[in-house]
Symmetry: C2
Subunit: 349 residues, 2 copies
């Protein structure tokens, strides 16, 4: 039953004429079982291991392992960074409010490459330390973007779609279908909404707490989330810097993720156009001849699939050649097909 639910979204996507075909007797096998039973990446094993751990750790364990890893690295980075800058705080000049707080704030402003310049290193040690932390910070932010942020947005996306369908009283399979079909579109929507909230919250906070004019507050928000950080306006109060630590980290990552999703959306749109073009293109006799891999003057279902996949650009000639060679190697009796006979012949040789 679960298997047919997963197939559902795809069928709904198809034009009416193709759906009618679906009601015919199905002659073709559908490769329902997942073909990757043994290949379980390390991260999957982590999940299994953790299920036996005590209950008080359950919230952390509910999170995806790669997300947990990102959180862990982030905590380690900020821990080491803060400690380093705390011990050399007399070699950092600028507007200071509190030893530890300034160290965390300086660390976040450096790792996100905002670099206001309201606190600057003024000794060789701190200058080299800052240079080191900005490079490692960039790598870490890249890691957050590729693993952590995407995971969070996908979770929010599912919640959003559930909320949208609350009145319709639909089953989880419909929600799953909706998520799959418009994945990138909804991710763009979630990240845009989050970004707007972060911009508004930042502007209001800077206006109220840091006593900036509305224009200045908005300008400081833009200057921060883009990591421009001229530094003429920045967070100078104690409350402001506590807020800044969390707000800068989330808003800079959010904007970068927004740009990533827009790029992903464009790529997907182009890919979908190509798939549509390939599907709508009529097969000619020439196509039939080219698609006929085993030269038997008829194109089987699998040959058709391979030909069209190549036309869609999903697979390359190299992929096919590599596998055809592997096939010829396995086909010990040279019958043109693999059977149990070939397998036992291969084992005995």
């Amino acid at each position: 039953m679960a298997g047919s639910n997963i197939n559902q979204p795809l069928l709904d996507q198809l034009p009416k004429t193709l759906q009618n075909v679906d009601s015919r007797r199905r002659r073709l096998r559908r490769l329902k079982s997942a073909p990757m039973p043994e290949f379980i990446p390390g991260e999957m094993n982590d999940i299994k291991d953790n299920q036996s751990l005590p209950r008080y750790e359950s919230i952390l364990n509910k999170l995806h392992p790669s997300f947990r890893k990102v959180i862990l690295y982030l905590v380690i980075y900020l821990g080491i960074g803060t400690t380093c800058f705390y011990f050399v705080q007399n070699q950092i000049q600028g507007k200071k409010v509190n030893g530890v707080l300034d160290s965390v704030y300086f660390c976040v402003v450096t790792m996100t490459t905002v670099g206001y310049g309201d606190l600057v290193p003024n000794s060789s040690t701190t200058k080299l330390l800052a240079s080191f932390f900005v490079f490692s910070g960039m790598a870490l932010v890249g890691m957050v973007l590729s693993k952590g942020a995407d995971y969070l947005v996908e979770k929010q996306e599912t919640l959003l779609i559930k909320a949208l369908h609350m009145r319709d009283k639909v089953g989880p399979s419909v929600i799953l279908e909706e998520v799959e079909t418009n994945k990138v579109r909804y991710k763009c929507f979630v990240i845009t909404a989050t970004l707007v909230v972060l911009i508004v919250v930042g502007t209001v906070f800077l206006a109220e707490v840091e006593k900036l004019s509305t224009i200045d507050a908005f300008y400081c928000v833009c200057s921060t989330i883009t990591t421009l950080g001229y530094g003429d306006k920045s967070f100078s109060t104690k409350v402001g810097r506590i807020f800044a630590i969390f707000w800068i980290l989330t808003s800079t990552i959010c904007l970068a993720q927004f740009f990533l999703y827009v790029a992903e959306f464009n790529t997907e749109r182009k890919q979908k156009e190509l798939v549509q073009w390939v599907l709508s293109r009529k097969m000619t006799n020439v196509d039939l001849e080219v698609a006929d891999l085993d030269n038997d003057r008829a194109v089987g279902a699998a040959e058709f699939v391979v030909y069209k996949l190549k036309e869609m650009g999903k697979i390359s000639q190299d992929d096919i050649l590599l596998l055809l060679d592997e096939f010829e190697c396995l086909d010990v009796d040279q019958s043109g097909t693999l059977s149990t006979t070939d397998l036992s012949l291969a084992q005995s040789s």
Copy 2:
């Protein structure tokens, strides 16, 4: 002949045992003709059109169209940005050296999000203008990263490999093969070398022209290429700012591209491991049964290819289902294979 040259790299990649198989009589067709004769993207048409243009434009036309587009957008952006900031130069405060030069410099420092803060907007108009230019600048830098920079690095890569093989006196097909096999590795190498050169040149320039100490010069270089830009050290002389315009643009993009290539390298390594695992995994009777798409108790070459491609994660269940439905639709006489009969039946109905 050209076709067999293209196949060469792949065959050399295969282990000895598989190459032996290659000497057997080839029973399988190899899909040699490219299956995308009609689908020529707009950019390809551009190339054709330009070949008939006069000679004095030839250098620009030798460049890839998407790269030309990036250059054009960059020139338009800097043109508009410089003009805008030039007209409001009295609303920008800080260390100034020359009207136009400062405007270009401010524009570059803003679009790359370096934001030293040595020049800052001090009116509402300029603040909003800077906010607008930093967002559009980020989008433009993203475009340069995805199209322009990659194209340049690939060109350099080919030159590098040609230089490495100068003594071996090898043909172009071997170079092409070398480029294809280790594409990402060489791209990483080229970008790292470029980055080192840019860092050294920047440090020497800042030390010699801007009279900074070596540590300060290196610190300013790190602060700039990462777009941190604290602003305590920046380019304050006329010559310095002219240099900065070109150096900041190339070095910030170069570092970002470096991070992108490292990510690409990791992804490719994982993908190659998976392909290797799929190829080395023995076929079992269960696999045979699952791979048998048309249920005829034998796995043909194409069925084997589809099964293994799915195992490698290159194609999804959805891709296969979509195409199988299309196939059933085309197979009018329900024979399980497509033939010229099916095509003529489809046309008459």
